[in-house]
């Protein structure tokens, strides 16, 4: 069993550059693991075996001939099947695009390849990214690797991204996030995943769900790896007019480990207070660890949080149906019934309701900005629940019966509306071994501080080093909460 699959991205790159590991050896290790585990895990829709090995051979030749190497040279990644990949089918997790072979890479895919990354394959996802549970009727449900016996939701919509990284099937992955679709699978699969600021990363070549709410970002096992992936992805793209011209900082250099004097706002009302006890305690303990490192913490509230449901429903439902209108008329039966029903809801949002929702959105953004005027980051749980079994639609949280779907997006969706960067970070496990995630939210375009806090936390904890039981070589686990 190759330990290469568990190495951090920076370490893999170092080994490759130092000729201590060949890119072919590294890619083969991941492909072997995919071959062994993915029948059950269903993290991949398409495995690009030949292309990945060819790219690995080119990467090896570059190393041997002393060429200048990119920051991700030889590093194997997975790409959510929402992102166009030149010459490789891109399904959007759907039957409708089952045979679509794009002629061009999505911008962020092209940039990661330019940085030297090798695409192992296209990752499973919720059909057209429209759901937080991580289920897919066409390609099968990805299996959360943290429970080897009961099939649990990996979270979505970047379900395959979460499962693949957590199970060591790729070193990092791309995801998208419209209501939590990077952060929810990151939280449920024990990973670090960042939804950057709206406009920090290009959406060109990424199938849309809701144009004004879609964000694109990386998932990995650590904040350091996430920073390494975000760097090449970020930056202005003329193909995406909403992308920002602001310069991209060196995210890796920002990971100093230093958070003395950092001002943290802990979101209790609406967030912590509606979280299960074990998760609440995990986040509170995490915040204590930050205080031990010199951070100053105060409790704050996002008063407009209860309005997020109505505002985000109106925006996402209307934009999603607008995008899908032609297919919904021509091929309605090719959609999974769940997604088809969800798309239909958009027909009943009026124009004035949509505009009102966009005005409320501005209000929410103003309030988050006001909180961050005197704070560096906000912290909240990423989700109020851990991964439920597949098929469960309701869950009990401290005696209250709640809907699984709305629970999963409750804490992530506000920051899709506001556009602020938000990163899910593992902060504990339940007694049953299921991951718990917290969320770190920062100022617009201050991903550097968000990742610095995540990295500082990971320097004094080891939740992010645990390996799931699926794979038969689980590392010894630290005690659960």
């Amino acid at each position: 069993m190759s330990e290469l699959v568990w190495k951090p991205l920076a370490e893999l790159r170092r080994l490759i550059a130092a000729k201590e590991a060949s890119p072919v050896e590294v890619v083969q290790a991941f492909l072997d693991r995919i071959e062994r585990l993915d029948k059950k895990l269903k993290a991949f829709i398409t495995v690009c075996r030949d292309e990945a090995l060819a790219a690995a051979k080119s990467a090896e030749a570059a190393v041997m001939s002393g060429q200048l190497l990119g920051p991700l040279h030889g590093v194997p990644i997975g790409v959510k099947d929402l992102f166009a990949t030149k010459g490789t089918r891109t399904t959007g997790g759907s039957k409708i695009l089952a045979d679509w072979i794009p002629e061009e890479d999505a911008t962020v895919v092209a940039r990661l390849k330019e940085a030297g990354a090798i695409v192992l394959g296209k990752l499973n996802m919720v059909e057209f990214a429209y759901g937080p549970e991580g289920l897919n009727p066409h390609f099968g449900n990805a299996w959360n690797p943290w429970d080897a016996h009961t099939q649990r939701m990996p979270g979505g919509s970047s379900s395959g991204s979460g499962v693949a990284v957590a199970a060591g099937l790729c070193a990092g992955a791309l995801g998208s996030d419209t209501g939590g679709s990077i952060r929810i699978p990151a939280a449920l699969c024990g990973l670090t995943g960042i939804k950057p600021t709206y406009g920090r990363t290009s959406r060109a070549g990424v199938l849309a769900l809701a144009w004004s709410m879609d964000h694109v970002g990386p998932m990995a096992r650590t904040a350091a790896d996430t920073a390494l992936l975000l760097g090449p992805m970020a930056g202005y793209d003329p193909r995406d007019p909403t992308s920002s011209v602001l310069p991209v900082p060196d995210y890796r250099a920002a990971l100093t480990g230093e958070i003395k004097g950092l001002r943290v706002g802990l979101l209790r009302a609406f967030f912590l207070e509606s979280t299960g006890l074990v998760l609440r305690q995990a986040v509170e303990q995490a915040v204590k660890r930050l205080e031990e490192q010199g951070a100053r913490v105060e409790e704050v509230a996002l008063e407009s949080a209860p309005q997020v449901t109505g505002a985000s429903f109106a925006i996402v439902a209307a934009e999603a149906l607008a995008y899908h209108e032609e297919w919904m008329k021509a091929r309605p039966d090719d959609y999974g019934p769940d997604i088809r029903d969800r798309l239909r809801l958009g027909a009943f949002v009026s124009a004035t309701q949509y505009v009102k929702a966009q005005r409320v959105r501005q209000l929410i953004r103003n309030e988050v900005d006001a909180l961050l005027a005197h704070l560096d980051v906000l912290i909240a749980p990423a989700t109020p629940i851990v991964a439920p079994p597949v098929g469960q639609t309701e869950v009990l949280v401290e005696g209250d019966r709640r809907d699984v779907r709305s629970s999963l997006i409750r804490f992530t969706r506000p920051f899709n509306l506001s556009g602020h960067p938000a990163c899910a970070v593992p902060c504990g496990f339940t007694v049953a071994g299921l991951p718990i995630g917290m969320q770190i939210v920062g100022r617009p375009f201050d991903e550097a501080t968000v990742l610095r806090v995540a990295d500082a936390y990971q320097r004094v904890t080891d939740w992010h080093t645990r390996r799931p039981p699926l794979g038969q070589e689980a590392a010894p686990s630290p005690p659960a909460l």
């Binding site: 429903f313 109106a314 439902a317 239909r344 505009v355 929702a357 966009q358």
Partner: protein
Amino acid sequence: MEGVNAKTLRRMAALLGFDWSDDELEALLPVLEKSLEAVERLNELALRDVEPAVQYRML
């Protein structure tokens, strides 16, 4: 919400060019009612001087 039933929804959908059956629309009603109630609650906010977050820009 009062007045929201499959017949009303079918008329609204038809305006957009969709031809959905009463059964299909009945299935949407529980979630739709809850969602539209949430949208209604946005009326409680003071939005007089708040412009929409999505606007046309010449830059």
